[in-house]
């Protein structure tokens, strides 16, 4: 069960953009965006969700959030994502810091494991 992950809706691009914007606007979190719907993406999401547990405080607050973007083919969502991670091909993983700045990218052809993801999260925590 994913307890720290927001899965963006695939059928409603407008809702997906709004949820994404809300999540980014939360200044108290480091955000890890994971793109794709294949097995690799799913594995990364589970690892990231597990790693996000480490900063969970009580039942309500967590310094780490994960957003799983399963589809990015809508124009509306594509524009929003380009605004966040920059133009061009999307990475596998992108990490935003507390101030919504992009701090780390993992490209689709780069190997990913829990340690890589933890380091990516830590990049997000860096001031």
């Amino acid at each position: 069960m994913l307890s720290n992950t927001l899965i963006l809706p695939e059928s409603d691009a407008r809702l997906a953009v709004r949820l994404l914007a809300d999540a980014i606007d939360d200044l108290d979190v480091v955000l890890m965006l994971i793109f794709g719907r294949d097995e690799r993406a799913e594995r990364i999401v589970h690892w990231a969700d597990q790693l996000a547990n480490k900063t969970k405080i009580g039942d309500t607050h967590n310094l780490r959030h994960v957003i799983w973007v399963r589809r990015d083919d809508s124009v509306l969502l594509g524009e929003k994502l380009a605004e966040i991670v920059g133009p061009g091909d999307l990475p596998s993983v992108a990490v935003l810091d507390f101030h919504d700045k992009l701090r780390h990218r993992i490209e689709p052809d780069a190997p990913v494991d829990p340690l890589t993801l933890e380091l990516a999260f830590l990049e997000g925590h860096r001031r």
Binding site: W47, Q50, L51, K54, I57, G58, D59, L63, F98, D113, P114, L115, E118, L122, H125, R126, R127
Partner: protein, 629 residues
């Protein structure tokens, strides 16, 4: 005082010799090898001249001796796998300690953060700063722990013949995913402890098999007649001073490799001790203080509210008499008991680095109670849910006029209880934190034991070895200029396990005794006296015994004059037999000698017969010595 190196005492040994001479303060180093010795390895090397009343200092280069002995015994040079293991172990240990320090700093920052969160008035900016400090320490800890574990893993892999970092990624991933950063720490600590134990065992085994090396030195005085008498050499002789016997020195217990390893082990032990008695202990003390305050802050909130609510709810539920509520009542009583116990628990005020065992005992106690509380707190919400239907059934059975009031009371109290339990979330995190700290304490205790083990091996053999000694030439009686002081050195090694003995070196070095300036020598000779007067019988060059008291002069740095020509001038006495009238005929003459009193010539007067005589002669002892050369 002068000194010199004699590099060829033997190929293996390095011995520095210096002689403090008498009033002339001269030590002349004349080194040559006689070429007619029967066996090359027994060639006597004349190392130099010693003034006849001087002191001979014999200074050993113990390190060089150990190195040469190790080479002769066939030990591998420095840098073999065992030494590398220790070097890696040290590096890993340093990384471990750095990680340890960062972990404690991270924990302390985390506690500060939690305390600030419990205080409702803490500004948001301060909270964020505290959190950042915690994360920064945690990140540095992860980096150091990863570095340490890489090193320690490379040792394990080396033993298995695997690539140095094989398995690191998997272990690190597992640690990161399952047990947060402490798992890395656990892994490193376990491997480190195991490695220290392994190295200790290897050192012990090596010492058990080490060769016992003996060094023997003898000094003899070799006179002109070839006789050799022993001279007492402090530290290497026993028995009477005039009849000394050689006494072997056997402090050379270990070879160079083991010495290096033990030195490294000693350093490692010191590093580990620093972890236990130095700054990290201070961190522990601080941490314990802060932990106590944080616990108090967390529990204070529960003190008045939770206990009151718990008591009220337990009383209400008990009054209902419904058997289905008994499991919930039991759990609530358990929570109540544990909270009371924890509130009554006092962390001692005085705990130092030397109280590790006491801290660990407290840790066990705390850990057990926290674990019980945590499991109960985790089980309670589910229990509340499962018993809610029973509560509703109970309410159904109540009269209508009581139902509303009772329901209101129960809802209010359950709501409060749930809120109180929600407050306990930071407490639950504290529980985990305390347990992690206690584990760390446990590691340090184990590491201290391991360090102690290594040191217990190292201590008996690391004592300073001083093989130096001094020979007082004046203790050699009957010495003459030209005599030789012969120094014999013998190094043997015997295996402790098999008893086999190997002669590593067996050499000798000679010093010629010399006098500088005027000195008197009394020597005997065979004279051939030729009477200058016309006496009865044939008195031409008749052989007679003679005695000469000759004055010589030792020239500084004049080897030919001193050792070859060596002229002497003085008086000679001869027992003559020029006629048959006198029973005693004593001749006194002026004497001239050459070649260390080998050849004599002179002119004298027969006191009884009243006749002059000329003579020439030789000293057969000196001749014999020359022939022996």
């Amino acid at each position: 005082m002068s000194g010199l190196h004699l590099p060829s005492l033997s190929a293996a040994l390095v011995c520095a010799l210096a002689a403090q001479t008498g009033p002339h303060d001269v030590f002349r180093h004349v080194e040559f090898t006689t070429s007619r010795a029967e066996r090359p390895e027994r060639r006597e090397r004349l190392a130099g001249e010693l003034e006849i009343d001087s002191l001979l200092w014999i200074d050993w280069d113990e390190d060089a001796l150990l190195q040469s002995v190790a080479r002769r015994l066939g030990y591998p040079p420095t840098g073999d796998s065992q030494a590398r293991r220790i070097a890696t172990l040290q590096a890993s240990c340093e990384a471990f300690l750095a990680a340890d320090s960062e972990l404690f700093a991270a924990k302390r920052a985390w506690l500060a953060w939690q305390r600030a969160r419990l205080a409702p008035t803490t500004p948001a900016a301060e909270l964020q700063a505290l959190e950042q400090a915690h994360l920064a320490h945690q990140e540095r800890f992860a980096s150091q722990a990863a570095s340490g574990i890489q090193k320690i893993l490379s040792l394990e892999n080396e033993r298995r013949g695997a690539p140095p970092l094989a398995g690191f990624r998997e272990q690190a991933n597992e640690a990161v995913l399952t047990g947060s950063y402490e798992a890395l720490h656990d892994l490193n600590s376990r491997a480190l402890t195991a490695e220290i134990a392994d190295v200790t065992a290897a050192l012990e085994a090596r010492l058990a098999d080490a060769f016992r090396v003996e060094l023997t030195m003898e000094v003899k005085l070799s006179g002109a007649n070839g006789d050799q008498g022993p001279i007492y050499l402090p530290g290497y002789s026993r028995g009477r001073a005039d009849a000394p016997e050689p006494y072997p020195r056997f402090e050379l217990l270990v070879d160079e490799r083991t010495r290096d390893e033990l030195r490294a082990a000693g350093e490692l032990g010191r590093v580990l001790e620093r972890a236990l008695d130095g700054s990290i202990s201070a961190d522990f003390r601080l941490l314990l203080d802060e932990l106590s305050v944080a616990l108090r802050a967390a529990l204070d909130g529960l003190d008045t509210e939770l206990l009151t609510t718990l008591e009220a709810v337990i009383a209400d539920l008990g009054a209902s008499g419904d058997a289905t509520l008994q499991p919930l009542i039991r759990e609530l009583r358990r929570v109540e008991d544990l909270v009371r116990t924890l509130l009554a628990f006092e962390l001692p005020d005085e705990l130092g680095a030397s109280d590790i065992e006491r801290i660990l005992a407290l840790a066990d106690l705390l850990s057990g109670r926290f674990t019980a509380l945590r499991s109960t707190l985790e089980a309670l919400p589910a229990l509340l849910e499962t018993t809610s239907s029973a509560l509703l059934d109970l309410l159904e059975d109540l009269p209508a006029e009581l139902r509303g009031e009772t329901l209101e009371i129960l809802v209010e109290r359950f709501t409060r209880l749930r809120n109180e339990l929600a407050v306990s979330a930071p407490l639950r995190r504290l529980v985990g934190d305390v347990q992690a700290l206690l584990r760390s304490l446990g590691y340090n205790a184990r590491l201290r034991e391991a360090a102690g083990d290594i040191e217990s091996v190292a201590r008996p053999v690391l004592g300073a070895i001083d093989l130096d000694t001094v020979l007082d030439i004046q203790t050699a009686h009957g010495r003459h200029p030209g005599d030789r002081v012969v120094l014999l050195v013998r190094v043997t090694a015997s295996s402790r396990s098999t008893g086999e003995e190997i002669v590593l070196d067996d050499r000798q070095r000679s010093f010629r005794l010399a006098v500088y300036g005027f000195y008197v020598e009394t020597r005997g000779a065979l004279l051939f006296a030729d009477a200058r007067a016309n006496l009865n019988g044939n008195q031409n060059y008749e052989p007679v015994p003679g005695l000469g008291v000759n004055l010589h002069y030792g020239f500084a740095n004049q080897r030919f004059l001193n050792e070859v020509l060596d002229p002497g001038f003085g008086l000679s006495f001869a027992l003559l037999d020029f006629d048959d009238v006198h029973d005693l005929e004593l001749g006194v003459g002026l004497n001239l000698t050459l070649f260390q009193d080998l050849l004599w010539v002179g002119y004298g007067y027969n006191l009884q017969v009243d006749a002059d005589y000329f003579y020439a002669g030789i000293n057969p002892l000196v001749l014999g010595e020359l022939l022996r050369k």
